[in-house]
């Protein structure tokens, strides 16, 4: 069902929703557009792409897993049991399906700490009014998403009217009495930025890709800050650390903290042995995960959804879209050079 709703009325609806739900959306921070809880539609930044992805709402940067006392090891509980309404873009919905794959499916058993938050989330789709500067979602096949509760077209001018489509019947109660208006969200069908995803003909070519001088350019360019992983909607890796509250304290906790494959410590083992020492090796690992390994393991779709946030974030102006494109060209050259399928 579709509806047309004024901004003022939308705020009243938000007010009502907040009794049962927490509403999260991109907000303007000091420096970045980042997800946070909102009370009014006017707080939502929709004309620009958020710098950070929505994942931190249900997969926090740091979370307590277990609490320890002298004698006890206790699972943490959620502080707020309310469900979460999350304003997201189509690429984000597709990206969160990749996170679900890792946390809920990989290894055959679900991760409780992820699941308990994730199952509270309902998607409120924000229609993209245009393709933003670094977006390449169309190339990654993730420009369209159908799996959401409610879709919104934001008013052209502040204070104007919203167009709303309700898919999830649970929200008919909320929107059902508003002015009916035929509306279905439109999706971006072309980005300015286009990339060719490498067509790697067989697993045996991975060895040759591994050895490409192409990766060396990143040894000098990339400073291994991991910023690209931090903003990525599909990066899922984490570390686990224990802490005590004070020196010698008897109480403490076990925490999960986002990690990054671009950091050297990611693979360092006791004794200092680590694999992938150079930035180029790490870039290869990240790139192959995003556009080959994940798909090879799980089938269907590549991990990267082309949200372009990593391109906006990189302090060294490294564009992941160009890395993918560059690798594609290298792979084509390998094919021409007579790569032999084993």
């Amino acid at each position: 069902m579709g509806y047309c709703i004024t901004s003022g009325r939308m705020d009243e609806i938000f007010h009502g929703l907040r009794e049962k739900y927490r509403i999260f959306a991109p907000k303007q921070g000091k420096q970045y557009i980042r997800y946070g809880e909102v009370a009014s539609v006017s707080e939502i930044v929709h004309r620009e792409k958020s710098h950070f992805s929505p994942k931190e709402v249900f997969y926090p940067i740091v979370q307590t897993l277990l609490y320890f006392t002298d004698t006890e090891c206790r699972e943490s509980t959620l502080l707020d049991e309310r469900e979460i309404l999350l304003f997201v873009r189509p690429c984000d919905i597709n990206g969160i399906r990749r996170l679900d794959q890792m946390f809920l499916e990989n290894g055959g058993r679900g991760d409780n700490f992820y699941q308990r938050m994730r199952e509270k989330v309902k998607f409120f789709l924000m229609e993209c009014e245009k393709s933003f500067e670094t977006c390449f979602c169309v190339s990654m096949g993730s420009n369209i998403a159908k799996d959401y509760s409610v879709a919104f077209r934001f008013p052209k001018e502040e204070g104007g009217e919203f167009l709303v489509q309700v898919k999830d019947e649970a929200f008919l109660d909320v929107f059902g009495k508003e002015k009916e208006w035929a509306f279905e969200p439109e999706f971006i069908m072309e980005n300015e930025k286009k990339v060719q995803v490498p067509d790697i003909p067989s697993r045996s070519m991975v060895k040759e890709i591994h050895a490409l001088p192409f990766w060396k350019q990143f040894d000098d360019n990339c400073i291994g800050c991991g910023g690209c992983n931090t903003v990525c909607i599909t990066c899922s890796c984490f570390d686990t650390t224990d802490i005590t509250y004070r020196e010698g304290s008897r109480d403490g906790e076990r925490r999960r903290i986002w990690s990054s494959c671009m950091l050297t410590e990611f693979t360092t083992m006791a004794g200092g042995h680590s694999v992938r020492q150079n930035a180029g090796d790490k870039m290869r690992f990240k790139t192959m995960h995003k556009i080959y390994d994940y798909k090879r393991r799980f089938g269907g779709e590549n991990m990267c959804v082309g949200c372009g946030r990593c391109d906006m974030r990189c302090p060294k102006d490294i564009h992941f879209s160009e890395t993918i494109q560059g690798l594609s060209e290298e792979v084509e050259r390998l094919k021409e050079g007579g790569h032999q399928d084993e």
Binding site: V206, K207, C237, T240, D242, C261, M269, A270
Partner: protein
């Protein structure tokens, strides 16, 4: 819902000092563990680490641990009767059933002996289940030798070569593990398997040496060590290409291992 990373408390039954830096901890535990699997051991407020089961028996499992950092330091400070937290067992195992009735060759370097020890103990008590067992075990020097009692027992039932990297001592050869591959009478075996466990360089060199001697790659088995945080396929640390070492490993056939490029 059953929490897959929640550890449970277990009692330490006994601590055996193998070397200055390696102790074996016997822990009360009734789990059925396959040869080559591991647990994630933890001390609340200190941390977690994956450790191979180095032996098992009625009501217990053993871990042989090298003291290298935060958690392992903490464990070395524990005493008999103390409580350790664990979750597991995790990972796959050596395909021991398919080793039965055939010749078996094991190359182990240093703590690499830990993950194969329980399998060797099993075959030393059931020698009739294998045609023959050859063991090549290497240590840095005499002070680094692990499992002295086991080594004696293995010597009496298996064909053994024990070696020290650079020094000499009674009962030991001198030299690195890979250089002893040529001593193994591969030609006299009808069907056999080769297991190689140790530091990455040692595993690589030994595998290549075996292949050079005509050992088919599919007869070689290795066990990988990678940084792990979750051991349940979520944290991403152990990933190599499309493979998660904590899920599909740590034991790999060399045909697959060779294709894994960090």
């Amino acid at each position: 819902m059953n929490n897959i990373t929640l550890p449970s408390p277990y009692k330490i039954l006994q601590i055996l000092h193998e070397t200055n830096a390696e102790y074996t901890f016997r822990v009360a535990c009734d789990d059925q563990v396959e040869h080559g699997q591991f647990y994630v051991l933890s001390i609340p407020k200190i941390g977690e680490a994956p450790i191979s089961v180095s032996a098992q028996g009625p009501g217990y499992v053993e871990f042989t641990i090298r003291k290298v950092g935060r958690l392992t330091d903490g464990i070395f400070g524990m005493e008999q009767g103390d409580t350790l937290f664990m979750r597991g067992p995790y990972g796959n195992a050596f395909p021991v059933e398919s080793f039965k009735g055939k010749d078996l060759v094991v190359f182990a370097g240093g703590t690499g002996l830990a993950p194969v020890r329980s399998m060797l103990q099993y075959f030393s008590s059931h020698p009739e289940e294998v045609s023959s067992v050859h063991v090549v075990a290497g240590f840095k020097d005499r002070d680094c030798v692990l499992f002295e009692e086991d080594l004696e027992k293995f010597k009496s039932v298996f064909h053994t070569i024990y070696t020290l990297d650079n020094t000499q001592a009674p009962g030991f050869e001198t030299g690195f593990v890979p250089s002893f591959a040529k001593e193994i009478p591969f030609d006299s075996f009808s069907d056999y398997n080769v297991v190689i466990v140790g530091p990455p360089v040692m595993m690589n060199l030994t595998a290549r040496e075996c292949v050079k001697l005509g050992v088919p790659e599919e007869k070689i088995w290795v066990s990988f060590e990678r940084k792990m945080s979750c051991s349940v396929g979520k944290c991403g640390h152990c990933k190599i290409n499309e493979t998660y070492v904590c899920l599909e490993g740590p034991v790999f056939n060399y045909v697959k291992a060779k294709e894994l490029l960090d």
